[in-house]
Amino acid sequence: MDVTLSVRRFDPEAERPAPYFQEYQLELDDSAMLLDGLIKIREEIDGTLALRCSCRSAICGSCAMRVNGRARLACNTKIADVATADNGAVVVEPAGNMEVLKDLVTDFGPFWEKVRAVEPWLQPEGPEPEQEYLAPNEDMLHLAGVMSCIMCGACVSDCTVLAVDPNFLGPAALAKAYRFVGDPRDDADAHRLGDLNEYGGVWDCTRCMQCVEVCPKGVDPMERIMSLRDKAMEAGHTKSYGARHAEALTASVEHHGRVDEAKLPILSKGRFNVVEQLRMVPLGVRALLAGKMPPLFPKKNPGQESVRRIFEKVEKRQ
């Protein structure tokens, strides 16, 4: 198989450091992985190409990079699967949302700082047991997925929030936080959930599912973030705009069978939050003038009673 890899290069020691693309023509076996191609370049064509790799088995998490614009592990990406039918170049770039150190090597410093920030260690209370801390199997099963995380940074690379706000803890660190909040042996939920409820925490996720899509290990970081939101609300953190929004939307579906768009922003910001309510006025006026103001009293949904009964039944059982 003949392939062209178009690799984004960057040399910080160049006279005028600037990223550029370099094309490499390769002849590879049909079953070759992208990493095979990159190693071949480094060993046979251009020894200056910098990349991180180690296990070649999707375990060490070293070789996450963007392939045709999407984060993947180079070692478990078959070139044949990403090469276009018309033999166009496969575009290989360093992971996103991280500073590029050289070529495909990025700075994982902020990544690890955020993982450390969620205190990724067990914090049990009470006297230390004589032997190990015990946990029933069934209570640990839901953590199996999140424990599969290999910290490759693919989710961080393609996170749409980190693209605009480096303060966000990000999917990897938040998935790690869930791993401890959900651990029956851990007793630090109160302060963990309190911290995660702050700016940069669980409520800043957009639910865009990029992390779910690109995670090579099925960790589903976004689903963990949603579980953390639920746990935070259950723990009494109900005053954030995000929590209020979730509460108001759910109540709206329960009572009207639909989203009550006119009241949702008011309830999300807090009925008596005068400053925020006033800030929304210009938008409201523009919406009104455009004929896009949602009805103040939404039409009655004929299925309203049925929906309400379902709410009662399902919620009561839980």
Partner: protein, 296 residues
Amino acid sequence: MRYAYYPGCVSRGACPELFSATEQVCKALGIELELEAMRSASCTGSGILQEKNLRLGDTLNARNLALAERTGLPLLTICSTCQGVMSQANKRLRGDEAYLAEINADLAEEGLEYKGTADPKHLLWVLVEDVGLDKLRSLVVRPLEGFKAAPFYGCYLVRPSSALDFDDHPERQDALERVIEAVGAEVIDFPGKTLCCGFPIIMSNEANALKMVARHTSDAQELGADAMVTPCPLCHLNLDGYQPQASGIAKKPIELPILHLPQMIGLALGIDPGAMRLNRHMTSTKKLLSELVLTP
């Protein structure tokens, strides 16, 4: 072609123009919409209710799918978020018989049962898979030549791909670009087309949401787009409603009309722009329509 029609909350709230445009376009394409049987359908929960209670979300969606199933018609949606949330629920329901049986036990008292046969389809997919691009092309009376349209999908219509049947329907991945071409317009490809518009965090982190609006609208505008076209009314609300703030963030004027998918198709089918309420957007479409010689 007849479909059980699920218009969603927003097309009957903040985006009435989407509702009218869909009705007109479907009529012109020979698509009959059965709304009456779906009137008692509820909101899908839009992924937010699911944060609090996934089981409840799945039960509500099973109820909606059962209502559609009862009509014996395929189900049509017009919102990326409705479509995605329904597809995800449908995957869980169809993939686990025991789970479906439990959910059906709750639906039984409502006189409903979901057999697992509903296959909700967004209008965008219906255009490509059921109507067909050739037929769409043949119905175009006013090719949108010279119109440069930037596609914007909405997260739920692209991810997670496992719930959206991309394996069986690879054409869904670039359906929007193909439809833009089919009506004679030019696709302005840009990196943000499958990313988040910021709407889900407009309440919880407005600053970040507005940065997303600024990035996508200014990127598309810089690449020469005359407008953005989206199959998601929530993306429309965010991208259309916050351009004054986005201009401030991007430090340059942004004025990019955000068209709903059926509005663009309607223009090519010769439908009056006023009838599709193109004059009722927050970001004016006046200049765009006059350039296309389509002033309402």
